[in-house]
């Protein structure tokens, strides 16, 4: 029998430069790698020093003007209740945008995530291209997408819905192809062996397995979307962001406090409902 030669794992560069110390412990020779703490600390120190320089870090400003923050925070925590009537409509717009965006984005994500999962699509190049595309979609900041779509579709909630859809599409499809790759493929292969088409096999064998995870991911993205949608108005895409921009511009921090309080309550309700539903799903 020919013995297969396994390549010895090459030691890391660090271990070659600073070879591990050989020690005798209870009659056995043991190799104790050298500590890396000093190297990590030096690298960290250099990175921090460079960051401090490049970001013009100046603790003096905080000490000198820090009390300003408390003035503003005190106003924010003293919300102007009569402003609530003006908050309601933008708030409903924000919720509508995130509901619609979550639904459109999650539906779009499903076919793309199937193409990007390596256990369903056997064509490696197609999967790789798909993943790079999905990665690129995820790197685009939501506010940038929103400001571009506000230029394209005009100011208003439609632009926000488009931005939220794209954002949802990015995160849900990533989470989905990771879940699809962990499903039990036995049933899928059995159905293919019996002569069913790929789509039919996916629909009956894989889809029931991923459906709870899919719904859970959709709810999770909805949770994030409420927060994301609340600031989109800052670039003119409708919702609470318009008010936030407005109130800060007028230095009306009591009004801002009311906007934030409403947002806080809504986020709390939605988070808890969605977490309850997600626990039921898993």
């Amino acid at each position: 029998m020919t013995r297969k030669k396994y390549k010895q794992a090459k030691p890391l560069l660090f271990d070659r430069l600073f070879p591990p110390r050989t020690m005798m412990v209870g009659g056995h020779t043991v190799q104790k790698p050298r500590s890396r703490a000093w190297l990590i600390s030096i690298v960290l120190l250099i990175v921090v020093a460079a960051s401090v320089m490049i970001t013009e870090f100046d603790i003096g400003i905080l000490i000198k003007r820090g009390h300003q923050l408390w003035v503003i925070l005190a106003k924010i925590f003293n919300p102007k209740w009569e402003y609530f009537s003006k908050v309601v409509n933008p708030l409903l717009d924000t919720i509508k945008m995130s509901v619609m965006g979550s639904v459109i984005g999650s539906l779009l994500a499903l076919p793309f995530s199937i193409i990007a999962s390596a256990n369903i699509v056997k064509n490696g190049i197609l999967v790789a291209i798909m993943r790079v595309l999905l990665n690129i979609v995820r790197t685009l900041p939501t506010l940038v997408i929103a400001s571009i779509s506000a230029l394209m579709f005009g100011l208003g909630t439609f632009a926000g819905t488009v931005a939220i859809s794209i954002f949802t599409f990015g995160i849900v499809s990533k989470m989905m192809y990771e879940s699809i790759e962990t499903v039990d493929m036995g049933a899928f292969e059995a159905m293919e062996a019996l002569g069913s088409t790929k789509f039919r096999a996916f629909w009956s064998a894989v889809f029931p397995q991923i459906l709870p995870t899919y719904l859970s991911h959709c709810l999770y993205s909805f949770e994030i979307n409420i927060r994301a949608a609340s600031i989109l108005g800052y670039v003119g895409a409708g919702g609470l962001g318009i008010l936030i921009n407005d109130r800060v511009g007028f230095r009306d921090y009591e009004g801002l406090g009311m906007v934030l309080l409403t947002l806080f309550v809504v986020v709390l309700i939605i988070d808890n409902t969605s977490q309850y539903l997600r626990r039921k799903l898993s």
Binding site: T139, L140, L143, V144, F153
Partner: protein, 272 residues
């Protein structure tokens, strides 16, 4: 009597039928969707919409190479570096500030009422959007990258402490008892009993938050908190597409690199 059916068919016949639940869910979804579809008042593509779309595509494929390679403070490399710097400092300071908060919010360390108060406080930090934090801080520090650093340090506390608390509450305290029995003092108990259990989780959390903060740092620039966002938004609004293309190009490359490395490091940490 179901003698004619074989056991498999009998089982299939008794399958749970919850059609009314499904109908209810579908009905609810339809109502919610119908209500929220009023948000989509599609007024047709804005008169210059097609031009904008063309401009974006043109810009991505013809990025302003001058801007892309220059090392001056308005160039893409410097702004990207500044964005990374903001995220690094913001995440590190946030990660450090979150440590006392999370120990004070862990139910196995402090009494329940104190844990609840501190938790509510971190929840408050988490719910206020980072953009609003930046708008508030900008009144204190003035515009510039420093504002971004301060904003991210505060914002990060919310999420990081949530993850820290989970790690702290999962601590195995039996180890402390055995260290006690072996005669260790308090410092040794922390060094050999607590830190090894926490540090992989803490570092993994910080790297995860760094990922988020990098993305956040680009948007914070839009309100004037330094980094690449300010320049990007200005170029979008003044429709200089090849400059927009250069910024987006740099941003995408940076994100892909950081995503790649952070996933690798976190996988290694998870495996131990």
């Amino acid at each position: 009597m179901q003698t004619t059916l074989n056991p498999i068919e009998a089982m299939y016949d008794n399958r749970p039928r919850r059609w009314w639940i499904y109908t209810l869910i579908v009905l609810l979804l339809t109502i919610v969707l119908g209500w929220s579809s009023t948000a989509i008042e599609f007024k047709g593509i804005a008169s210059k919409g097609a031009e904008v779309a063309y401009g974006i595509v043109y810009g991505i494929f013809h990025p302003d190479t001058n801007l892309l390679w220059t090392l001056s403070p308005d160039g893409v490399p410097y702004l990207l570096l500044q964005t990374v710097g903001i995220a690094v400092l913001g995440t590190l300071i946030g990660g450090l500030l979150a440590v006392p908060f999370s120990f004070l919010a862990a139910e196995n360390v402090v009494p329940k009422w104190l844990a609840f108060i501190v938790r509510a406080f971190t929840l408050l930090i988490r719910t206020i959007p980072s953009l609003v934090w930046a708008l508030v801080w900008i009144r204190v520090t003035g515009p510039g990258p420093f504002c971004g650093v301060v904003t991210q340090s505060i914002c990060s506390i919310g999420m990081i402490s949530k993850m820290y608390i989970n790690a702290i509450e999962d601590l195995d305290t039996k180890i402390l008892e055995s260290l006690d029995a072996a005669g260790c003092n308090t410092f040794q108990k922390i060094r050999y009993g607590i830190l090894p259990q926490l540090y992989a989780n803490f570092i993994s959390t910080i790297i995860y938050r760094f990922d988020i903060n990098i993305k956040d740092a680009t948007t914070l620039g839009i309100v004037g908190a330094g980094g690449i966002g300010a320049a990007l938004i200005q170029c979008i609004n003044s429709r200089r597409w090849s400059m927009v293309g250069a910024f987006l190009f740099g941003l995408i490359i940076l994100m892909l690199i950081i995503d790649f490395f952070s996933t690798r490091v976190r996988k290694r940490l998870a495996r131990g």
